[in-house]
Amino acid sequence: MLSTLQPPRSLSHFRTNPTLLLRYTSLKPLSSLSSQPVIHSTITDQPQSPNPLPHSQILSTRHSLLSRHLTATQLADSFLARLRLTEPHLRSFLHVSDSVLAQARELDEKIQRNEELGPLAGVLVAVKDNICTAEMPSTAGSRVLEGYTPPYDATAVRKIKELGGIVVGKTNLDEFGMGSTTEGSAFQVTANPWDVSRVPGGSSGGSAAAVSARQCMVSLGSDTGGSVRQPASFCGVVGLKPTYGRVSRFGLMAYASSLDVIGCFGMSVADAGILLYAISGHDRLDASSSKREVPNLEAEFVSISSLDSKPLKGLRIGLIRETLDDGVDTGVTSAVRNAALHLEELGCFVNEVSLPSFSLGLPAYYILASSESSSNLSRYDGVRYGNQVPADELNSQYKDSRAKGFGSEVKRRILTGTYALSAGYYDANYKRAQQVRTIIRKSFKAALDEHDILISPAAPSAAYKIGEKKNDPLAMYAGDIMTVNVNLAGLPALVLPCGFVEGGSAGLPVGLQMIGAAFDEGKLLKVGHIFEQTLQNCNFVPPLIADEVTS
């Protein structure tokens, strides 16, 4: 049954059809295809391509619905079935919507009536629990918001719904996005689908694990210091962190406002890109969202079959030297070096580039993020919403509500940030960190003037064991070294699986990080799309569901 979910490989033809790719928003259901029977296809039914191509789940869903190969209800059913099957092992969801099937049926009726479909029609999207959803609880993984349901949808969620997407549920995270393992959730620990004794990364661990285990098609995460990219790397999925300002933050519970972005997870670069395209654009409810026009990102997804042998000829790639230093696992280093070779084969010109300020990013990040979080989390006082601890006196009420509501990592960062902003310490901490941020931004700018794209590992290691770093916050902070600089510079970055290291039953995926110039997500998606299509001998389906999903 589950095999029906995997669209036939022949759908790569679908992707090659530029009209379908570019104009699908205005397509009407293809009635000429409606008489075709639903094909319960498996990979063996299909002509085997020389390179098994990563596909777009979003586009194949659309194709299946429009061609009436599958109904939205069938699709939703099978994903929900797998969700139920895998969830006891993974615990990636804090809340699963009970209206998924109803929405799918509604969509099927629309298809029956030949009504126009949104570009995300029938796409099952999981949403990180720090992103507000009007009909589902949104807790940010914190006790302080236990049972809280917002009165509004985040702009990103609203856009997904308007385009026909179905929100499957809310995924687990480190409380308020503060952590790198998802162990910091107040409610549950999420496991890595590649090895359930390991962490999925974080803070968007639930969103990454859910996509990796095909519990949903795509998902939303948030990335303040690497919270989309590092779990993408740990879980072997594609993670896309857009330029700061590309996607509205309205409805994203703020951790560090000047660094937070909503990002996308998908099984393929195309999926992450299509989802990003859907949620991008200026929002009058977010003053920090950019008014810059959003180019059609889908135009970047050119099928490999239509390209020559050196499709990326002339592209200048900079491998950041400082990211291959000591402290990075050799398996990770060699996977990234192999990826660099692969890019060379595709025609890129790869050289090493030095960002001397790279190591300054981590301390600057932790000062700025903590400072902003100490302020952003002040609103959780138990007065208007969330958990309140009754007390006889006002200050006790604040103290008790916050002491009981927040977990230890959140408290640690609030204290750090409060300290950094205090009179007499501000200049040496916050102000200095802002100066470092400027230096980092300039050095990235200089490197990106010389190169089209910079590459690095997404994390210094592959997924580690649950509990391994839980009591060593500094070790956990150090794991963010690859990603925090990108947030400080506000740049877009794409992480996609590029290889494996040993570990677990089937090896552990390693992610390659590609960093682009501001608002140049298109280039990252184009390169990433070609990279994943041409990557040899790699299959990023985790062992947990490998029996069910053949690819």
Binding site: Y148, P150, Y152, A256, S257, S378, V383, R384, Y385, A423
Partner: protein, 569 residues
Amino acid sequence: MASTIFRSLHTNPCLLHPTALLRRKDVILYCTMRSAQTQTAATPDKVKPQVKVAPNIQNKTLEKASKDYEAVIGIETHVQLNTLTKAFCSCPYNYGSPPNTSVCPVCMGLPGALPVLNMKVIESAIKVGLSLNCKLSFNSKFDRKQYFYPDLPKGYQISQFDVPIATGGYIDVDLPLEYGGGHRKFGITRVHMEEDAGKLLHSEGGSYSQESYERLRLTLSLFWILFVYFMQVDLNRAGVPLLEIVSEPDMRTGIEAAEYAAELQRLVRYLGVSNGNMQEGSLRCDVNISVRPIGNIEFGTKVEIKNLNSFSSVSRAIDYEISRQVLLHSQGEDKEIVQETRLWEEGAQKTVTMRKKEGLADYRYFPEPDLPGVFLTQDYVDGIRNTLPELPETKRRRYEKMGLSMQDVLFLANDVNVAEFFDTTITKGADVKLATNWIMGDIAAYMKNEKLTIDEIKLSPKELAELIASIKDGTISGKIGKEILFELLAKGGTVKGLIEEKDLIVDPAEIEKMVEKVVSENPKQLEQYRGGKTKLQGYFAGQVMKLSKGKANPGLLNKILLEKLNAKS
């Protein structure tokens, strides 16, 4: 929706005494400087320093001592801007709306909500900055000021810290004549933009003592305690834009301070950026005051006074506080003056300690990351400068040049609507002095009796000008003029129409007949007149007017009467 989100804050209100400040008051909402002046006039008698000394000794000591000391006064004023929507969201704000009916995720500080600046706030700030002769910051920003309080939904206030939108200005003030008059120039340190907080309300409208609370707690279920007793938060006001205007410590007396505040009120009303109403809290003054021996350069210990909701309370609270501090100084107990916030108690007419400052509060300011910087262009500023109306100071100087007395000048320029009424009347050709007299006299009296503003009366400046002209050219008598004025005030209409309605006699032949009748019926008086007693003309005129039942045109009447009286001489 809001009601499901808002929960009562269960906290003992006895421990939250500052909330007394925030309780709403139902007060009639009009206030002019004139009434403030008359109130302040009573000040010196009313204020009896409440110190433990026999009153007469105390007064003597004070009188003597106050010659040796001077007070240094600075004022922080919060002006609520009357923008259609709040500073960072699209909620409207209307004073007196039911609690939590004008709120949204942004001003309630819900998770995920973000502020977006209302550009009208910048415009108003620039208007005020320019009018206060300030230097504008073309590159400013917002900052977060952080503290915990139930009326502050986000746990921080969006404000401006180190780069306020305007700095280094001054304001010109004319002191009321009752206090000797005179012109003053007070420095303005800075003007910055920020958002207002909500209000705390007692659910039952009253405060409870500790004992009654304990009784309740023993007898009722927890639910009832929550329901009946506890304080609630009203966030209607949260996020309403404010300008904070900080003065230099340039004032020396309560009157100067009150007049400074009154001039700010006048200014924001002239500019149309705020209703400036103190009772509603649209204009709030916090006064900083210290006393030092004359000749000292160093300032004494500064005390802040809050809860001043009229100009007279500003003036009286300061005078009280000066006496208190001078007395302590003169008794060598100046160590008793500590840096603290004191509350003005209107009933007791004294200031009392509200809270002592325990070191400086650390608000951990940092730049607001949710809002972009505020960048102004010269064109934008010039555009606003060109739309500025004539300001109170300019108006007063112009009226002075028109030959009006200072008293007239201060009256007319006090209220922007009165000034506009006056200006329009003059533009329509009315005599300046006569217009002033009518406005300050009968019209002002009528407005006061009927509790109307000049906008609400039915009389238009055009008709006032017409009325003045009609009296001047003798079409109607002053007496009839007054009658017509009151009809115009109450019912409206035109001067011409009312003259017609009154059936006034303007036909010379008819008047001539009446004159002849009166002259022939009073031969004795006529003889006396012709014998040189020309004052009797008034007598004849009165008789004719009486005969016409007051309807004869006085100009014509006098002209014809003179002709007749002097005819055969």
